[in-house]
């Protein structure tokens, strides 16, 4: 997570993509591991919250807003989706969309599988919603 914030600040998109993939793989390894510990599953919860909500919807949104000049956020997103803008900021937006459109075993970021493992390991349902 620290790497993701670091590369977002530097706006190094190549390293940022790699850092996101690394964190994602760490998360998948935890929820796929039948022998994972309760500590592991809480770590997976943190990653899920970070990748699924906090990073794309708060941090990345702010990062785009801070670098955007001459148009509103909404106009920027619309223009990118229509293919009218192609720059570093639009590539960053595409990376974020990659996270938001990611499914694993049929649910967004594998949340269904995560919930199953969480319940099994902790004996309770996740207390707080992802969004």
């Amino acid at each position: 997570m620290e790497e993701i914030l670091n590369y977002t600040y530097q706006f190094n998109l190549e390293k940022l993509s790699q850092a996101i993939e690394n964190l994602w793989q760490k998360y998948v390894q935890i929820i796929e591991n039948k022998d994972c510990t309760v500590d592991d599953i809480y770590r997976a919860r943190a990653i899920l919250y970070f990748l699924g909500y906090l990073y794309p919807e708060q941090i990345a949104l702010g990062a785009i807003n801070n670098r955007l000049t001459g148009m509103s956020l909404e106009d920027f997103f619309i223009k990118v989706d229509k293919g009218e803008i192609n720059n570093e900021l639009s590539k960053f937006y595409e990376i974020i969309k990659g996270i938001k459109n990611r499914t694993y075993q049929g649910t967004y970021l594998g949340e269904g599988l995560f919930n199953q493992v969480y319940e099994k390991k902790t004996g309770q349902k996740p207390k707080h919603k992802l969004d």
Binding site: E57, F77, D81, K100, T103, T107, E111, D131
Partner: protein
Amino acid sequence: MGSRRPPRFVYRGERVAFSPSDCVIITIRRGFLIKFMKKRVFVIKKRMWQDEDLIGFETDDILVVKNTTPDAQIILSRTAGLITEINNLLCHAAIISRESGVPLLMGQVGITNQLNTGDMIEVDFDKKIWKKF
């Protein structure tokens, strides 16, 4: 799933006689169609929902949900409009709405408790208002 009923499109400013139900007024704003419509709603009250929660959904219903996720992409192509409780320009519903042109009204906190499947609503996606009738 019901059969798609072709909407009646009426351009803003055009003088036409139409029944109050099932009309669609189109305006062009920022390159997308922004619509006012009167439609039946299909409400999902759960946060995490799946295909089995869509039994009874009719093509051209307005889908009312807390949020959407990528696994809901197919149904979003068959909905007349989308209303969500969540409100964020980078949430999945906002992304898919921009990409597909599905009219979206976000940030309607509590709407999944206020409406039930089958209710009829008027919604102005441009002015971001809705009411039950």
